[in-house]
Symmetry: C2
Subunit: 509 residues, 2 copies
Amino acid sequence: MNPLNPVEFRRQGHMVIDFLADYYENIEKYPVKSQVKPGYLFQSSPDCAPMYPEPIEAILKDVQKDIIPGITHWQSPNFFAYFASSANTASFLGEMLLNGFNVVGFNWASSPAATELEILVMEWLLKLLQLPQSFSTSSDHGGGVLLGTTCEAFVCTLLAAKEKTLDQIGREKTEKLAVYCSDQTHFSFQKSAKIVGIKPQNVRQVVTTRSTNFELSPESLDEMIKRDIEDGLIPIYLCATVGTTSTTAVDPLGTLCEVASKYNMWVHVDAAYAGSACICPEFRHFLDGVEGASSFSFNAHKWLLTNLACCCLWVKDKSSFTKPLSTTSELIANKTTESGKVVDYKDWQISLARRFQALKLWMVLRSYGTIALREYIRKHVKMAKDFEGLVNMDSRFEIMARRYFSMVCFRVSPYAISQHHDNDHEANEFNQMLLELVNATGRVYMTHSVVGGVYVIRFAVGATLTEDRHVKMAWELVQGQATSLLGTPTPNSASNVQPSKQIEGSIST
Amino acid sequence: MNPLNPVEFRRQGHMVIDFLADYYENIEKYPVKSQVKPGYLFQSSPDCAPMYPEPIEAILKDVQKDIIPGITHWQSPNFFAYFASSANTASFLGEMLLNGFNVVGFNWASSPAATELEILVMEWLLKLLQLPQSFSTSSDHGGGVLLGTTCEAFVCTLLAAKEKTLDQIGREKTEKLAVYCSDQTHFSFQKSAKIVGIKPQNVRQVVTTRSTNFELSPESLDEMIKRDIEDGLIPIYLCATVGTTSTTAVDPLGTLCEVASKYNMWVHVDAAYAGSACICPEFRHFLDGVEGASSFSFNAHKWLLTNLACCCLWVKDKSSFTKPLSTTSELIANKTTESGKVVDYKDWQISLARRFQALKLWMVLRSYGTIALREYIRKHVKMAKDFEGLVNMDSRFEIMARRYFSMVCFRVSPYAISQHHDNDHEANEFNQMLLELVNATGRVYMTHSVVGGVYVIRFAVGATLTEDRHVKMAWELVQGQATSLLGTPTPNSASNVQPSKQIEGSIST
């Protein structure tokens, strides 16, 4: 057996390329959300590994028969759930190359290209996003790194802030350390804080409101911190978000950083979803104020056409950042590390081993070019805006949060559901039922959130293959299901529109 | 622009398959260890991303010209450094499929196949490794999960042990928690403990010695714990290793678990490298006693023909394990999760997002079959044993640690170097110089360790393409370079052999 026989590698590799190309060609034929029941796979699968080799032909048949029905098709053009994961050719080729080389780039010496291409790509992205020079690897103190996920960025930056503080005030104060976020901050933040040993009660959430677009209020933050200090807590970290998961809300970075700086806190800006949009000049202003932050991250695997998982993180003070993550061992000792002239990325992440992720981002940035990437973002924003327009045309529906990017939060209004015009509870149940009916058709997939006690349907544009016609079809499907549920005909003329339903301040970009 | 145009996907995909097949065909032509100097890539690369798309042909040319020279060729048959990362066709195809689908399998509902195939594959592996049923997902309390790296396994299990204890004794005791390992435990363990908030001084290392094959002594552990308890510490966790990184030493699991159980400690067994070997019945005894452990992990990406990164972890008490890692949010709330009938793997790892890793392991186990996988392991062990035999035939060299698996630790003996027969310091410098000369030829790549103050060269067999001839060539290269350095001819007959150089207890399997 030679598991890397080039002849077989070639033959089987070509087969899988064709298999996947066929998959993309047929993807609209599958129900977007998998319709299998729990345990479906165990019924058709042997309960131990085979003794003898099986041919690729048989395995691919089983992928078609057993795996594809169990997949929710994130690459379907009718996928509008969560935030999309944008598979595409260039990133796929990058994954092929990095898997082909399969180098373990824990430090510069283990594969110099892995480290240097990562530095290069992070510099390219820094310029694309117009991030401050203080975050650049070419600056004295800053630098960028590719992690897997935002959770890793949370863990590593929280750890840096924690250790930096404890070094100054003594380890016995651990229980007093407090970190800040809003009730719209991603739910993984709480878990990340727990991982690094922040007392769960000391993860302090500022409450947001719909009237202020679910933004984290600097005034409320300041008040909360003041009270906490009086209560003996030590504020060390603030997580601000550009593009929250529930409604894509944008926290005011500039003023938040000003508040945090009064208390010498680390500020992390989580732009997991919306960061990608900021490569377009017209969206860049959402990052204004980031120069006051200590770190910034976004997920290229969400909206910058990069395969899972790829989180781009920059820090301003690499010394504080890498100190608690650094390791030394004779096993990987080498003269280049000792020279101090190179970056060893093992000291920038939780794990030692790391994949050659930069290759896929490099392929994406080169294959598409900046102009096409911007057009790609704009196309998605335009489709979301169009969807928002359609919602506004139907008086039974209402937009539930200001739309900034490519996601629309909406619901059937309580007014359309019953006489109890302001009964959010009833509306919540109705909209949940509506969403279930819509998804059960298999023709689209959307998900929901609950903000300020209100159940909202999230329509998140972002799948690579989505076109105008899919957006239109999705809306008609929602309308049709709503009509069935409400038992009234679909309003089909603009005369039914109640302009007041357009939320104040929705941007037209 | 359609970044998932099936026609272009097919055309470019086929090109990259051919590119990589050519790479494997030519891999022996490249210097194994990259010979570039720091900063090499920045000289040839533009300092910002291109505005316009570039054709795949131009990009692949740059991969050949700029990336390949900067890669250390982990897939070269002449790669004997660290522990190998075993690229291969089946796992590569699995990566293609998982990247093609690009699902984000954080919970069952987000893509049922991702969760169910992971459970299935972990059950297959559990049986292959004859792990106790108490680790099985089909048991009441246990379960298996695919993580990226052993560091993640450390962090998650340490967190479980810590939180379980603090729930019982109160959070204010955090500073008293102590965790145990040996001086041969992987250096990432210390960092993982720091991440979860274990006081660095409370990561307690038992010293090992060459005379006991660098094993963690249960008696020494017991004594250390007793003293620590007297000093007010609270022991919560022991990391035992099967196949340490420096010498592939094997800790005595059974007696270590007995000691740990006296103190109600969590025992994690780290078999990152050697776990794969235990699919062969003749090596399975190295895991004897694992039934007393709380968790067990090994890296399929090291020696089980699986692409980076893939760490397989089983735990006996999934409730303690998942409690601190669990998250809930309306954003991902769904009826299947609420039913309690499914596993949501987001609660088994640090991050929320996760790749469909099970696909590649499933491809490997099916494509090769158990019998061929065992043969593959045995072939590597046989090559290492042959290398060990060659070392033993040359009286200038000595084996420095008992060989258990596919790695040989050796050096030029102080006796061969100078009159100062027991001068380890001089021998260390000599062997370091020898290794540098050997690697500088570009024809092979080996790395080193320092154990008990002694510099040893590690010859780790594990690359997928390695054959007998590569092992023989590597040895002749080492001999030749040693001869140049020593200024004496290579002994070429068995009459020079000093049988005493064969280390006591080296196994013949």
